[in-house]
């Protein structure tokens, strides 16, 4: 793919997944979730804000399409459980929106855009712990870029992306950014 074909190629680096590839990855993950959970019974999808949430809703849409099964969907904000709160100024909270039936006894699939250090997922597990007792927790990510700092792995991965820690991986989604793409670029000055 030519870098110039993407309108943000200059600013955010190189596109490694385009809209079609993201769509296919999500379709595969949706099938894998159905397979691994024996038909998606008692499954809840919880997206981690910001971009995990539209991904969770997209997966729920695919599952509804394939199996005519309505999978409850929600969002789980992990800000208050993060371990790096004191390294930044206090940040605005995302939204936590649980399906009415709660998480007790369900198989919760956490959905996020990028899996990196694993710290966000650890925070999500802690946040979930305060909300109830799921039967099992699984993790779905669009991109796994490696460099884990905690013993955490994803159950469903859209794309494994070997990266250097100096690189920045950004997932763009139509619901938030106006277009679908996964970008990889060099760290810029002033960025964390």
């Amino acid at each position: 793919m030519c870098a110039a074909s993407s309108p943000v190629a200059g600013r955010d680096g190189l596109a490694v997944l385009d809209a079609e590839e993201i769509r296919r990855a999500l379709t595969r993950i949706a099938h894998e979730i159905l397979e691994r959970t024996h038909g998606g019974d008692e499954v809840i999808l919880l997206g981690i804000p910001t971009r995990g949430v539209p991904l969770a809703y997209r997966l729920a849409g695919r599952i509804a399409e394939f199996e005519r099964l309505v999978v409850p969907c929600g969002s789980l904000d992990v800000t208050m459980h993060r371990d790096d709160l004191r390294l930044h100024p206090a940040r605005a909270l995302g939204r936590t929106e649980l399906p009415a039936e709660g998480v007790d006894g369900k198989t919760v699939v956490l959905v996020d855009d990028v899996l990196y250090s694993g710290r966000t997922v650890r925070a999500a597990l802690d946040a979930l712990n305060d909300l109830g007792r799921p039967r099992a927790v699984q993790l779905a990510v669009l991109v796994d870029r490696g460099h884990r700092e905690l013993p955490i792995r994803a159950d469903y991965v859209g794309k494994n992306l070997p990266t250097s820690q100096r690189e920045v991986v950004r997932v763009l989604l139509a619901e938030v950014d106006g277009q679908d793409a996964v970008m990889i670029g060099e760290e810029k000055e002033g960025q964390p």
Partner: protein, 334 residues
């Protein structure tokens, strides 16, 4: 946001909205089995109360505990203050104990401001004399926004719930165009001053309705209108906020008799009927039932008095989180 919360005037419109939006998210905690977050684990919040208080102290204590902070309660009665210790010496003692935040209530206006110069942690003004009570104004703004701008939470999730979507079932945005009438003893009220400042920052139109003797001299410089006639203000009010007649601060005759005050400025059932259908009645508490507010009004469905107490915990959690939850301020480490 600044490091301290001394005055409602310290808050920009963006700061105030951030606090209200944060409180809106934290409000959900009340419906959860575990009403606690680990965010302020290891931080110490000192409640320094030189004046009697029920709801503010308990509210701050509950807010800090729900965020897992350690809370030390200090009341002037039964402490070394009774032996003549000055505010500054008490402040230095707290400083030595490593308080990350000090919540202060003091009978002298300006006490919180002075304290902020002596301690390294954040200072939260919980009422200083007749000056300000900014967290009360925040919880009042939060209550107004929830009641008048919809969003009680718990409704169906939007198809896509990320970001700050307009389809949000939660209350959001400012209070532009909301007409608020604050009634009664403005002269002695820190709640009135903080509310006038904060509500006008948020775009509300505030009118003070009070006898001339109970209005401060400088009221002309406040960002609000003034009226001596409550009855003419009621039909155009979205919110009526009744203030307590603070007899303990009154050292002169501000009105001929309690009965006359009550007849002209008290909110009874007949006056409540003059309000528009959607209007709400607020009171910061504690109430003098039968003086500024009739018991039937206080217990009516329009009254938000109990809601204000619940919202107080949520709003104070938001303030504590935003002041203490992040990195320490550069000014502290220098």
């Amino acid at each position: 946001m600044k490091r301290h919360l001394i005055s409602a005037a310290d808050l920009s419109r963006a700061d105030a909205l951030l606090i209200l939006d944060t409180a809106e998210e934290l409000a959900q905690l009340a419906d959860r089995p575990i009403k606690k977050l680990p965010t302020l684990r290891g931080r110490t919040v000192v409640n320094l109360f030189y004046e009697d208080s029920t709801r503010t102290r308990i509210s701050f204590e509950a807010a800090a505990k729900r965020l897992s902070a350690d809370v030390i309660n200090f009341s002037a009665k039964g402490s070394s203050v009774a032996k003549g210790e000055s505010l500054k010496d008490t402040a230095l003692t707290l400083e030595a104990m490593g308080a990350d935040a000090v919540v202060i209530r003091h009978p002298a206006s300006g006490a919180a401001h002075r304290l902020a110069g002596w301690v390294r942690g954040s200072v939260l003004n919980a009422g200083d004399g007749t000056h300000e009570h900014p967290t009360q104004a925040l919880l009042d703004a939060f209550t107004i926004r929830r009641r008048l701008r919809g969003g009680t939470g718990g409704r169906a999730a939007p198809p896509y719930a990320g970001g700050s979507g307009g389809s949000s079932p939660r209350a959001s945005g400012a209070l532009d165009g909301v007409r608020v009438t604050i009634v009664g003893d403005v002269l002695h009220s820190r709640v009135a001053r903080s509310n006038v400042l904060l509500l006008s920052t948020l775009g509300a139109e505030v009118t003070l309705a009070a006898p001339p003797t109970l209005l401060p001299l400088a009221v002309g410089s406040w960002p609000c209108a003034v009226s001596y006639d409550l009855d003419s203000e009621l039909p155009k009010s979205d919110v009526v906020m009744m203030l307590r007649v603070q007899q303990e601060r009154m050292n002169a005759a501000y009105f001929p008799s309690v009965r006359e005050y009550s007849r002209r400025y008290g909110l009874d059932v007949a006056r409540m009927a003059r309000l528009p259908d959607h209007a709400i009645v607020m009171h910061p508490g504690p109430m003098n039932r039968g003086v500024e507010i009739a018991a039937e009004v206080a217990d009516s469905s329009r009254s938000t008095i109990v809601e204000q107490v619940a919202n107080g915990v949520t709003t104070r959690m938001a303030v504590l989180y935003l002041l203490l939850g992040g990195t320490e301020f550069p000014a502290v480490t220098q």
